[in-house]
């Protein structure tokens, strides 16, 4: 049981944005997409979350065709963090996070809200107005909402997934590290995680699978040890690269 992406292609006006995409996202694993700008990473996330339909090929959630799921059904199976938009009214941080709660309000709500707020370090800003926060703070709030969303669903289905489009953008190195630990904990608890990163070191260290994308195709897919090497990275990014196996500052990792 997993998300299966089978030979997916996505065309817009005869331009092929994605082609021959095939891989699985397994529960309990972190799958990371790496690749240069314009490789089609965000488009792929939109297809997998079910916002758009692939032109051909299919995407299955636990053997069920994604196209067959209603909006509500999809919302029970996955939560998504994307590049967020401005909010023009004075909603508080608590208001925004609460919007992720798609279940009835039971006793679990306050408990999970507190837990998520602590994890994302937004306890101190929870009563502040969202739109006056800094970019990094807003990112953490949306992350909290995404986590609350997936945690608000009780275990009706066996598998739940989180799709994260650049979850570390705008975050300083402290929160980057903290967040990666949260994501790893979620994976340990059995969630399937797909994320887009730009930090090759973090991806290498924390992912179970890595997909290297270029020009709308997944060029390499597999374990980090197998995929991340000098030859592949140079080909993907078009830069001369050198891999150091023991960077001196990486004691956190």
């Amino acid at each position: 049981m997993s998300i299966e992406i089978k030979d997916v292609r996505y065309m817009v006006n005869d331009t092929c944005l994605l082609d021959k995409i095939t891989f699985d996202i397994n529960p309990g694993e972190i799958t990371t997409i790496l690749g240069p700008n314009g490789a089609g990473k965000s488009t792929l996330i939109k297809l997998i979350s079910g916002d758009m339909k692939p032109s051909s090929g299919e995407i299955l959630y636990d053997k069920i065709l994604l196209n067959k799921l209603t909006l509500e059904n999809k919302s029970h199976r996955r939560s998504v963090l994307s590049q967020s938009q401005n909010i023009n009214f004075d909603f508080t941080v608590r208001d925004i996070v609460e919007m992720g709660w798609i279940n009835d309000f039971n006793n679990n709500f306050e408990k999970i809200l507190n837990e998520v707020s602590k994890e994302c370090s937004i306890v101190d800003i929870i009563e502040r107005k969202f739109r006056y926060l800094s970019g990094g703070e807003q990112k953490r709030v949306h992350l909290a909402r995404t986590l609350l969303h997936i945690k608000s669903i009780e275990n009706i289905y066996e598998n739940k997934y989180i799709l994260l489009d650049e979850p570390l953008a705008n975050l300083d190195i402290f929160y980057e590290f903290k967040l990666i630990k949260i994501i790893r904990k979620l994976a340990k608890n059995g969630l399937g995680i797909l994320m887009i990163l730009h930090d090759i070191n973090l991806a290498y260290k924390f992912s179970n699978k890595i997909a290297l994308m270029l020009d709308g195709k997944v060029k390499y897919f597999g374990n980090p040890e197998k995929v991340i090497n000098q030859k592949n990275l140079e080909k993907i990014y078009g830069l001369k690269m050198k891999i150091f196996t023991k960077p001196f500052f990486i004691k956190y990792y």
């Binding site: 909006l71 029970h76 939560s79 938009q85 401005n86 909603f91 208001d95 798609i102 279940n103 009835d104």
Partner: protein, 347 residues
């Protein structure tokens, strides 16, 4: 497979706090007081004491039941419609400066009305449709605009909001060209009727026009209020809301259709009344908060009470004549709007 856990939009009272509930209660009482004032004050004052004792003269009864009550009811419902439509559209477009005029619906209704004043009154039999000619032609104008919006924005798809606003601007421009041409070719009597209509007035409130208007506005209010929580959630983005299980396309359909009906009907019977839709939601946010469960209801009642008050002002300032109520609302609304813009700029 079947599941019943997610019902966004349930738990109405969870998203409205006690202070907001009390504020709404205050607004309801305020509206009722304004309406009562509207019944008894005007160019001809009716004594409340005599009304309570039940010894009004025949003339006073006539004025109260045939002129004052329909007029006050009409202004109350039109105020509610404009305030509510403004709040909904600002929420839907996630833009604090949106108002019902913005998507071109008022302009479409205005063009329909002007057409009926200048062209149809000449072409058609004098008694064709009677007093209903203007409202019907005006509502048709509003509906045509909605259909254009619907088709050009491909059925209100995602991320079509900016696109829709631009279409609205184009429609507004086209409609004002039409109105301009018609104004140019109209004769003196038509010109006078048209000018007064454009400035907005409740002077021709009659029961047989007021009842269908109230009915349509009431239906739209009932349709739109249950969407409040969804309009809250759409603030984080259309795509994000749809990922939480909200049918954004349907939400847009409901909000735009019901706003268009409310605005179209209001404009058709009372002309152009500016600034209510734009300013009222801001006032309501200022006193109580931004969540739409509170905002929509609050805007309806504040819009209602303030428009009834404006109408009283329009009746008593230059007695025995009447000031067009659109002038009164613009005179009060425009400075407030300016203050609002400066305030937004500061923050």
């Amino acid at each position: 497979m079947g599941t019943n856990i997610v019902k966004v939009g349930k738990n109405f009272f969870r998203y409205i706090n006690n202070i907001q509930l009390k504020l709404i209660l205050v607004l309801i009482v305020f509206t009722l007081i304004c309406m009562t004032l509207g019944f008894f004050f005007g160019s001809f004052d009716i004594s409340i004491k005599k009304f309570i004792h039940g010894n009004l003269s025949q003339l006073e009864k006539e004025i109260l039941y045939q002129i004052r009550i329909p007029r006050v009811l009409l202004s109350a419902f039109v105020g509610a419609a404009l305030g509510l439509a403004g709040a909904c559209l600002q929420g839907l477009f996630r833009n604090p400066l949106a108002d019902p005029g913005l998507i071109g619906v008022s302009a479409g209704a205005a063009l329909g009305a002007v057409l009926s004043i200048v062209v149809f009154s000449n072409l058609l039999e004098h008694h064709f449709l009677g007093i209903y000619l203007l409202p019907i032609s005006s509502v048709t104008g509003a509906l045509v605009v909605i259909l254009i919006l619907y088709y050009l924005s491909k059925g209100f798809i995602y991320d079509g909001v900016t696109y829709m606003l631009l279409i609205g601007i184009a429609i507004n421009a086209l409609a004002s060209v039409g109105i301009g041409i018609l104004t140019f070719v109209s004769d003196d009597a038509q010109l006078r009727g048209l000018t007064f209509w454009m400035m907005g007035s409740f002077a021709n409130a009659q029961w047989n026009l007021v009842i269908p208007t109230i009915f349509l506005i009431f239906i739209s209010i009932i349709w739109i209020i249950p969407q409040s929580r969804k309009i809250d959630i759409i603030q984080i983005g259309e795509l994000e809301a749809s990922r939480l299980g909200i049918n954004v396309i349907k939400l847009k359909f409901v909000v735009i259709m019901s706003s268009a009906i409310m605005v179209g009907v209001s404009v058709s019977i009372s002309g152009m009344i500016g600034f209510i839709g734009l300013v009222i939601p801001h006032l309501v946010r200022l006193i109580g908060g931004v969540n739409h469960n509170y905002l929509l209801i609050g805007s309806a009642f504040l819009g209602s009470s303030l428009l009834v008050l404006s109408d009283i002002l329009s009746r008593i300032t230059i007695q025995p004549a009447e000031l067009p109520v659109g002038l009164v609302t613009s005179a009060i609304g425009a400075p407030f709007f300016l203050w609002l813009v400066l305030r937004i700029k500061k923050s």
